[in-house]
Symmetry: C2
Subunit: 77 residues, 2 copies
Amino acid sequence: MKARIFVTLKPGVLDPQGKAIQHALAGLGFGGVNDVRAGRLIELELADGTGEAEVDAMCRQLLANTVIENYRVELLG
Amino acid sequence: MKARIFVTLKPGVLDPQGKAIQHALAGLGFGGVNDVRAGRLIELELADGTGEAEVDAMCRQLLANTVIENYRVELLG
């Protein structure tokens, strides 16, 4: 079983990495980029029978910093 | 217009960050995790009229290292 976890900064939290990407894109001539937010994508290969509740616990305890980040879990097959 | 870009390591490329996450999860008691791959999620807020070809060019020139990484573009509204 696979799970994909998308971790993104909460709205309002400053994102210097995103700003750096935006400036680099502008420097390359891509001017139409109004904002960039950088996040993480974590793909887990799980033993069968691992439930969504367990994946949620992994996110809360390790994978996401819930003070400043949101996360979304997508279970595949 | 928004675009989401998912950058993942190609299969076979070593992923020390993923391995570190896997070991940390095991240390927390989450034993049923067979593999972890760490990637990036980049959200772009684009000026209207920016085409998929332009986003693709951004990925190839800056956002992904196509030697070792795959990327997928998702355009939203």
